[in-house]
């Protein structure tokens, strides 16, 4: 959303949400019949697999199509301007570009399925290896940002929902709207200017200072590729502290967006729950108000909240493109932008497919979690 796009993150109406599931047919079966339940489970799993497969195919079709419309002739890029007609044809054949388009697409799908995204022009390494190397940095950033966003956003949303229309509610709403309206790269630059340049409270761009970076490279064994975890495992607390001072700002910037979204959604879920009759019942039977709000009502919003948190996590993976550029954070986002700058299409497309796939999987995971937690969703499916 926004700074990074918020597709589907601000449902304009409840109907739109309903539209999501309205094409699944409703069948009612006797719930106690084991074979029926098994059959239904298998059917659901199959439907999920088919959906997953078609979505992935669609993803590949789009990137394949984008790859075809590139005005650069890939053959010419390899053989050079002065190649003879025979050399050109030979290279064309070697690349498989003389085959019918559909065959080319099938080869493309097969390559992608086996993790072969070609070789990066920039690093001269297979794209998948490159991505494996840079992905932990992005994961580390997005995870910390999501945790911060949840820790701030959920309480803010609950507090706003219990005091609708008050000053507190307005402030939380406006702080959230500001998050929706600020360019993420600009907020990052302002953060660097104030907290790094002026106040010196945090580390600058990059994941570590140069000296710590050398120490990390030479002394700390890699387990996860996430510096905070690896250095903690090795007991290298100097490096850990340094890494923490570097990640605070980019993670804080991303967390702001995640908080804006989560608090807004939490507020609307909580408003809905607080108007239910069980809340009145709980109050009537004399439960303390904090218990009614934070245990009974919030407990019932957990299901949609899980979906929202998964969506915001997926959005952060995307938002990292701009944030990583600003903070010189060597993750997937920076990798894609650098590849873009040097017209390294294999790397761009590989990165796009990986982010797209992560996006799809996160969406699916939240969908499955939703069904697992909420018996109503299971019954409706």
């Amino acid at each position: 959303m926004g700074p990074f796009e918020r597709r589907g993150t601000r449902p304009a109406s409840a109907k739109e949400e309903a539209g999501l599931s309205s094409n699944t047919t409703t069948t009612t079966l006797p719930p106690d019949d084991i074979s029926h339940r098994l059959w239904r489970l298998a059917r659901d799993a199959l439907r999920l697999l088919v959906m997953l497969a078609t979505t992935f195919l669609g993803l590949l079709a789009i990137t394949f199509f984008i790859g075809r419309v590139v005005p650069i002739d890939p053959v010419l890029a390899i053989v050079g301007e002065r190649a003879t007609q025979e050399q050109y044809e030979a290279a064309r054949h070697a690349l498989g570009l003389d085959r019918p388009l559909i065959v080319q697409f099938l080869i493309y799908v097969k390559d992608a399925a086996t993790g072969n995204f070609g070789t990066s022009l920039l690093t001269a390494k297979p794209v998948l290896d490159d991505i494996g190397r840079v992905f932990p940095a992005t994961l580390e950033l997005a995870t910390i940002a999501t945790v911060l966003g949840v820790l701030l956003g959920v309480p803010a949303g609950v507090i706003a929902a219990t005091r609708p229309g008050t000053l507190v509610d307005q402030i939380i709403r406006i702080v959230g709207l500001m998050g929706y309206s600020m360019p993420v790269f600009w907020l990052g630059l302002m953060g660097l200017l104030i907290f790094y340049g002026e106040l010196g409270w945090v580390g600058g761009p990059g994941r570590l200072d140069t000296f710590q970076e050398m120490m990390f490279e030479s002394e700390v064994p890699r387990h996860t590729g996430m510096i905070l975890i690896d250095s903690a495992l090795a007991g290298a607390w100097d490096i850990f502290r340094n890494a923490l001072s570097h990640i605070v700002l980019p993670a804080g910037v991303l967390a702001y967006y995640s908080m804006a979204y989560i608090s807004r959604m939490t507020r609307s879920f909580m408003m809905n729950e607080l108007s239910q009759e069980y809340v009145t019942t709980a109050r009537v039977k004399g439960l303390p108000e904090w218990r009614v709000v934070w245990v009974h009502a919030l407990g019932n919003t957990l299901v949609p909240l899980v979906t929202v948190i998964a969506l915001s996590y997926a959005n952060l993976l995307e938002g990292s493109v701009l944030t990583e550029t600003v903070f010189a954070w060597p993750g997937l986002g920076l990798y894609i932008t650098n590849a873009l700058m040097s017209a390294d299409m294999a790397a761009v497309m590989g990165g796009t497919i990986i982010v797209g796939a992560a996006f799809i999987l996160l969406n699916m995971a939240s969908d499955i979690l939703y069904r697992l937690i909420d018996p109503r969703a299971r019954a409706a499916a």
């Binding site: 739109e16 669609g58 790859g67 309206s181 360019p183």
Partner: protein, 309 residues
């Protein structure tokens, strides 16, 4: 008070709020007037409207408002701080007046917003209404397509498209429009499903109207309020995406005064000449805040489902 009622304005107001409108026009204008009254009670929404109107005026009268030529370089005056004589917001690394560049940049921003706002929703509406109206395999295929586009992170897809088509403002607009339509298709389909089996549609069909006529003339208007709200809320996102593409050097190209591009060039002087990157960012922030406030206000007024909130 009685003098007001006899004045032309008072009579207009009475005519608009008459409980027994005598013509269809009067009824429609009366409804619009009541909607406006409700909308204008929301100060934040009015603030948003004000910001957008200011943006439009700024874009229209840019050459008159801007104190300097946005492209004129004056190296003797480079990197002047804000509040310098003649340069309220300072100058950039080529001595160009930042205020003038922001004012002219409003034209670029507004062009992008307008082009996306007239293309993506129309395409989305078409897909969504056709999908919802016909149902069956048409619905399945179109919605699957929509889902695939929705599954793509929007900025990344725009990036990949621009990388393929080549950087430039036209391609950036095309990429944003191509990634922006799926939510509108969803909204339009949901609305279509609710009116598809309504009696009035059956009546028109019995009268012999063609599918095209029913969809364009009788289904689409019912989807418009939801889509308009969605468009307004999305415009902030469009501005931010366009600025992001500009920042990465994939959108508008130098020396165009596009706000994202201006931030990107100011980045080099961030710690010494903070204003070069800060000012255009503030402009982006204010304008997208305006669209968000306006969208929220519109939703409260036009969408009966959120009226209770």
């Amino acid at each position: 008070m009685s003098r007001f009622l006899r004045s032309p304005l008072g009579r207009l107001s009475a005519w608009l709020t008459a409980p027994d409108p005598t013509s269809r026009l009067q009824a429609r204008l009366g409804q619009a007037w009541l909607t406006w009254l409700r909308f204008s009670r929301n100060p934040l929404a009015m603030l948003g409207l004000g910001i957008i109107l200011a943006l439009v005026l700024m874009a229209l009268f840019a050459p008159l408002l801007a104190p300097h030529d946005p492209l004129e370089q004056d190296l003797a005056q480079r990197l002047l701080p804000p509040f310098s004589p003649g340069h309220w917001l300072g100058t950039d690394e080529f001595g160009r007046d930042i205020l003038s560049r922001i004012i002219h940049g409003a034209r670029i921003t507004l062009t992008i917003v307008a082009l996306v706002a007239v293309t993506a929703p129309v395409f989305g509406l078409l897909i969504g209404t056709v999908s919802g109206y016909f149902g069956g395999w048409v619905d399945t295929v179109l919605m699957r397509l929509t889902d695939i586009f929705l599954a793509f992170p929007r900025l990344i897809l725009a990036l990949a498209l621009v990388a393929a088509l080549g950087p430039g403002i036209e391609n950036a607009i095309l990429a944003i429009a191509l990634t922006a339509w799926p939510p509108y298709a969803r909204v339009a389909r949901a609305e279509t499903l609710t009116v598809r089996s309504a009696d009035y549609i059956a009546a028109i069909r019995l009268a012999g109207a063609s599918h095209g006529r029913i969809i364009l003339g009788h289904v689409t208007p019912m989807c418009l309020p939801s889509v308009i709200i969605r468009v307004t809320l999305d415009m902030a996102g469009v501005i931010l995406t366009a600025a992001g593409l500009g920042f990465l050097g994939l959108g508008a190209q130098p020396p165009l005064p596009e706000w994202g591009l201006m931030i990107s060039s100011g980045r080099k002087f961030l710690f010494d000449q903070w204003w070069v990157a800060t000012m255009p960012g503030l402009a982006i922030f204010i304008v997208s805040l305006g669209f968000n406030l306006l969208g929220d206000g519109l939703r409260d007024v036009l969408d009966p489902r959120s009226a209770s909130r």
